[in-house]
Amino acid sequence: MTESIINFYELRRKQPRFQGIDAGHRACLGCGEALAARLVLESTGPDVIVANATGCLEVFTTPWPESAWRVPWLHSLFENAAAVAAGIEAALKAQGRQSKVLAFGGDGATFDIGFQALSGMLERGHNVLYVCFDNEAYMNTGIQRSSSTPHAAATTTSPAGKQRMGKRHLKKDIVSIIAAHHIPYAATASVAFPSDLRKKVRRAMAIDGATFLQIHCPCPLGWGHESEESIAVARLAVQTGLFPMIELERGELTGAMPIREQKPVVDYLKPQARFRHLFADDARAREELEHLQALADHNIEIYKLLGSGVDALDSEGADTVRRGGNRWG
């Protein structure tokens, strides 16, 4: 069978999943955020309304007069997605409508500029699932540091130079802050583990109340790795302990993806240009490498991430594939 006679339009229509973001969007090659957003909507289904903060996701999906979205979607500003979502939810309540409200934002919109609105929405307990697509910098404006940028990563506003080793500060522990709002469900997920991501979206969707999901999504441009390495890099973030995969309910830790075999952080850092300066023959660079390893070790310790053997849902087993697929159903 030659591909020329395939009716792609028909085939696309018949896909056994909900493609809440369809093709033709303008994301860069290998964009982790584009993938994460589609995965989220696959699990929520079409009965949702999205409030989207300013950022790459918003820009690459909606080059007017086109849109890649198949769900009702509203972009207002950078800092107010959570508040806009709260307003949508209030309206639905007033009208007796049932659709779930989602708020989408990048790490800048979540950790930084929109944090106030997010905190308010959580505190008021709106029935909103807030999804933070965390690619650890302001990518839309060209890779500036955010409070999610990892320690020692170079960005255009935390460059490595003669006197600086990239970002001086730490990555903000947003999920703990969110969980401290005593909301029913807050979790972290990664594009490298789609099954786990879907499970967490389904859990959040089942809850009537404010929920939060932070998804680690590589940005090949901003992190400086090849486009095909997005999944591999995200996987290493989890396997090294730098990005702990946890679930918090009412502030209590209720789930953590165990790490079967802790990989050294250099495995994760090496493919990324944003950490290139750490591999110079330089005492400060060596110290920062040790620092990052200590941060990973700390995560593993506080969340007790190191597994005790083989676990089908651990960092090695969670995305085991089977003949005929295990990613749908």
């Binding site: 696309r12 589609r38 999906t61 909606t62 007069p65 095909e228 594939v321 697929g325």
Partner: protein, 564 residues
């Protein structure tokens, strides 16, 4: 939505981005590229284990067996005796441990015997061309089988009363029970093959007669003549050949031997001979091998060409192996052996670049044995077709299996062509010769396809769980007497697990990875269009060529091609 003003506030219709073809950004494109599984490439018979493992994983064991016997009609036999090159090549070995392909093969073979599954043989046309097959060993049986599947009338000529060749003569029953051998071979003959027992080429029928009365001839005579063995021209008077001892043991079941014996050789015949000598009551059995034990081998070429398991069992059974040794001198009292002088030797590359065995002076030791049995290989006994046997003692053939001595329509295979004497290789020779004969009779040349195996680096093993392979049950040492089969088969549960462990190297197994992980929704899932064996198609209108699908394909089935 007709009253919606799309110019107001920058409003847009759902999924209208589809109007924009991001495929124009692409400088490289993903393509589905079937790669050859290393097990498939490595199998001298040409089996494709991946294909039958897939059927097992789908829960259809009979379909798996059918897949298997499209290549090899004798899986219960090869599952037991093949040194399984497939497993040495298996990419899973680099990850945790190779798939127990032989275990699965044997399981399917035994299951078919137990359930009396039959080959699917197409009805033969009246007046089908007749093809003569000389020798009912594995090569001849495979040739007859495949010729029958291709619609020919196969006629087998066997010097012995029963079929089997090497399988019957040289392989002891503790490795290959006669029942299995008998039934599986009979099932082959039962597909409509004419079997002429006690008919020896050169004695009862001539090659010319066969050529006259058949459209083509396949020779699978095996190697019946022991290589001439001596030490500096000296041979003891009562020289026994290993193959003769094996035959005698296999038919009579006992041997008369002194209490200490040295067997010379490094292959299966040598090892089997040593082991039957132990079973026959010889107290002290030495194996003098010029090659290395598996754990000490410097290269694949240097190691004893037998399955490590067999070596381990022989050691357990009390065979004393002297690796990297040669016999320098026979210690004779009159014409009787009282011992041998052994010396350390290794194959080394000389100044001329040629490998040669070098004995190391000063390492000589004396082994006190009362008999020395050479097992250094056999060559073709060419009575009746001498003209086809080359100086090296083997029948020379071309890539298609046709003899090169100028006899049109005559093909040969198996041990007789001297390409490494394994049952599996012989079966492959038979199959390839059948295809070549078919081509010859249709007037076109047949060529085997040569594929590069998929390498471990081409796979993405992050998506596989480590799991150990099941070990074959082995008969306790004290129970290993007489003809009892030493190695058992694996169970159904283990077989299913092996099927699930298969990496599916170079072939799509519909895991959904590409479909799930494409950031651009440019991979579409398809059932009905999966004609190329993939279950997905690339929508190049949108694919930007990021390469994630290729990188994350567990099977190495997706390659990126430059596009400019």
């Amino acid at each position: 939505m007709s009253d919606v003003k799309y110019t107001r506030g920058g409003c847009a219709r759902p999924a209208t981005s589809l109007q924009f073809h991001t495929g124009s950004w692409r400088v490289q494109r993903p393509v589905h590229r079937h790669g050859a599984a290393p097990c498939h490439v490595a199998c001298p018979a040409g089996e494709n284990p991946q294909a039958y493992l897939a059927r097992i994983e789908e829960g259809d064991e009979q379909a798996a067996w059918r897949e298997l016997v499209t290549i090899n009609p004798l899986p219960a036999i090869t599952g037991r005796v093949c040194p399984h090159f497939c497993e040495s090549a298996c990419n899973r070995a680099t990850y945790d441990s190779a798939i127990s392909i032989h275990g699965v093969e044997r399981y399917l073979g035994d299951k078919a015997l137990a359930h009396d599954w039959h080959y699917a043989v197409p009805a033969r046309a009246v007046g089908a061309a007749r093809v003569a097959i000389v020798g009912a060993g594995p090569a001849g049986l495979a040739a007859a089988y495949h010729l029958t599947l291709l619609g020919y009338q196969a006629v087998m000529f066997e010097a012995n009363p029963e079929p089997g060749g090497t399988l019957r003569g040289a392989i002891p029953e503790y490795r290959l029970p006669r029942g299995v051998l008998q039934v599986e071979m009979q099932r082959v003959l039962d597909i409509g093959i004419e079997f002429r027992a006690n008919t020896r080429l050169g004695r009862d029928v001539s090659l010319e007669e066969l050529r006259q009365s058949h459209a083509a001839v396949f020779l699978g005579p095996g190697t019946q003549r022991a290589r001439y063995w001596h030490v500096d021209g000296i041979v003891q008077r009562d020289l026994h050949q290993a193959l003769d001892l094996l035959k005698a043991w296999n038919t009579v079941g006992k041997l008369s031997m002194p209490a200490s014996v040295a067997v010379v050789g490094a292959g299966n015949t040598a090892l089997d001979t040593a082991r039957i000598l132990r079973r026959a009551g010889v107290a002290s059995v030495h194996l003098v091998a010029h090659k290395a034990l598996p754990e000490q081998a410097a290269s694949g070429d240097d190691v004893m060409p037998v399955h490590p398991r067999e070596i381990a069992q022989a050691l357990e059974e009390g065979v004393q192996i002297h690796p990297h040794r040669g016999i320098r001198r026979l210690l004779l009292r009159g014409e009787r052996v009282v011992g041998v002088e052994m010396v350390h030797m290794k194959k080394l590359r000389g100044a001329d670049g040629v490998y040669a065995r070098v004995a190391f002076e000063g390492t000589e030791t004396v082994l006190h044995v009362e008999q020395v049995i050479p097992a250094i290989g056999q060559t073709v006994d060419g009575v009746g077709f001498d003209a086809l046997v080359a100086d090296n003692g083997f029948v020379s053939v071309n890539a298609q299996g046709a003899v090169t001595a100028g006899y049109q329509g005559v093909f040969a295979g198996g041990d007789a062509i001297g390409k490494g004497g394994t049952v599996t290789r012989a079966i492959g020779d038979g199959r390839r010769a059948a295809a070549a004969i078919h081509g010859f009779l249709q007037g076109r040349e047949w060529a085997a396809s040569v594929l590069a195996p998929v390498t471990f680096a081409q796979l993405n093993v992050n998506y596989f769980e480590p799991a150990p392979r099941p070990e074959d049950p082995v008969l306790a040492l004290k129970k290993r007497i007489g003809e009892k089969e030493v190695v058992g088969g694996i169970e159904q549960q283990a077989v299913l697990q092996e099927a699930q462990r298969c990496f599916s190297c170079g072939n799509c197994f519909a895991c959904d990875n590409c479909w799930t992980l494409c950031p651009d929704t440019a991979v579409l899932k398809t059932q009905e269009l999966a004609a190329d064996g993939a279950h997905y198609v690339f929508d190049y209108d949108y694919c930007k060529g990021c390469g994630i699908c290729a990188q994350e394909c567990p099977c190495g089935f997706i390659a990126m091609e430059a596009e400019l």
